[in-house]
């Protein structure tokens, strides 16, 4: 395969990944690393660098759409950013010393988790949550628009949310993913934020977390322009395309198919990690 063929094929694969990722809400970044390593036999460190770039691009590109849709909680997001950026720095530093097989296995497990998490039913309904001392002190309580007008909500479980976010940051720096599934888990389950608020805030945080990891990958020379170029342009184009057809598509069955594909990729990553084929 020469450089032109490589660029075009990776670009087309990334376009498809971005398209499906945006339609299903799973994000295009999660399939970039398996695609590059399993299909194109790219070293996993280059693949993670390129995936980080695509995560920043889609997160920042989607921000405008999210702003129209609802409210992100800037204070919650910014406070938790401390945990995710420190986590990302730790994760990226650890990645430099881990064997690629170990990274591949952890990646496979994280893929299975995010595929599993995406199939869970989401319920918007929240029981009345009592105010929490730490959240009140940090001024996190806010309100968001619903059918009944602006509905106030309280934030809880700040320490647990903070700890989960550190974990999300570590995985992001280690694997080059957005860790959106864990971020939503932390805010939705641990901190009892309304679902819409936690998804929009999570999207805002994903870009900042990925930027912290990407800085390290770039300065360590893990960011190859020849790979990152088709990946970034492809995923970005695909996700914009996906956002346009989102309204008309039958997302449920598509999400199921995409989840099965991710499951297969995860198993293959883990298998390759164990037999040392990475």
């Amino acid at each position: 395969m020469n450089t032109l063929e490589f660029t075009l094929l990776v670009g087309m694969g990334s376009l498809l990944a971005g398209f499906l990722g945006s339609l299903t809400g799973l994000g295009g970044g999660v399939v970039i690393v398996p695609m590059l390593t399993l299909l194109f036999h790219v070293d996993i460190r280059y693949a993670i660098g390129a995936a980080l770039v695509s995560v920043i691009a889609t997160s920042s590109g989607a921000a405008a759409a999210y702003v129209k849709e609802g409210y992100s909680n800037v204070r919650v997001g910014m406070f938790l950013e401390i945990a995710t950026t420190v986590g990302a720095l730790v994760g990226a530093a650890v990645a430099l010393h881990l064997h690629v097989s170990v990274i591949a296995i952890i990646f496979g497990l994280a893929l299975i988790y995010s595929a599993f998490a995406s199939l869970r039913e989401k319920s918007e309904h929240k029981a009345d949550v009592a105010p929490d001392r730490i959240a009140t002190w940090l001024g996190m309580d806010s309100s968001y628009p619903t059918e009944n007008g602006m509905t106030p909500y309280h934030v809880r479980g700040v320490p647990l949310g903070f700890a989960l976010m550190f974990g999300a940051g570590v995985l992001s720096g280690l694997l080059g993913i957005g860790s959106g599934a864990i971020k939503v888990l932390a805010m939705d389950q641990a901190m009892k934020l309304p679902f819409k608020v936690s998804t929009t805030t999570s999207n805002f945080m994903i870009g900042v977390t990925a930027a912290a990891s990407a800085g390290i990958y770039l300065s360590r020379g893990y960011m190859d322009p020849g790979i990152a170029m088709p990946v970034m342009l492809g995923v970005l184009g695909g996700s914009l395309l996906g956002a346009h057809v989102l309204a008309a598509a039958k997302v449920r069955s598509l999400r199921l198919v995409f989840t099965v594909v991710i499951g297969f990729l995860a198993v293959e990553m883990i298998y390759n990690g164990f037999v040392g084929k990475m």
């Binding site: 460190r45 401390i82 930027a211 390290i216 893990y222 020849g226 970034m232």
Partner: protein
């Protein structure tokens, strides 16, 4: 939070969204131009990405990337686009610092400054 507070937060969100979109658009254009230069100048050999070599020093640092891009080298231009893309969320955090100063919310000025410091450290310090 009172109603004016929330309205102000929402306006802040909208300005941020425009900032992010412009950053991504500009970065993508640079990467695209760099890609065209890269593919047209390249004598197109087969590159083996299976073997990890790491990038040369001039494509790792901010000053090196600026020099390479200034020479209109394809790989340098792409890397400058990627650098700009990484800088986009950083700019958003910087914007938040200013917004919190404007609101005189000193707790969050401190929190946001800490996040900004961590981000700059990753980009210029080269990690832990």
């Amino acid at each position: 939070m009172t109603a004016p507070d929330i309205r102000r937060d929402q306006r802040m969100d909208q300005i941020m969204a425009i900032l992010l979109r412009s950053g991504v658009l500009l970065a993508a254009s640079l990467v695209f131009i760099g890609g065209v230069v890269y593919l047209s100048r390249h004598d197109l050999p087969t590159i083996n990405y299976r073997v990890f070599q790491g990038e040369p020093q001039e494509l790792r640092t901010v000053s090196g990337i600026l020099r390479e891009a200034g020479k209109f080298h394809g790989r340098g231009l792409i890397q400058l686009g990627l650098l700009l893309l990484i800088a986009t969320p950083v700019a958003r955090v910087l914007f938040s610092v200013v917004a919190f100063i404007y609101e005189k919310d000193w707790t969050y000025v401190a929190i946001t400054m800490l996040v900004l410091t961590l981000l700059c450290y990753s980009l210029f310090g080269g990690g832990l």
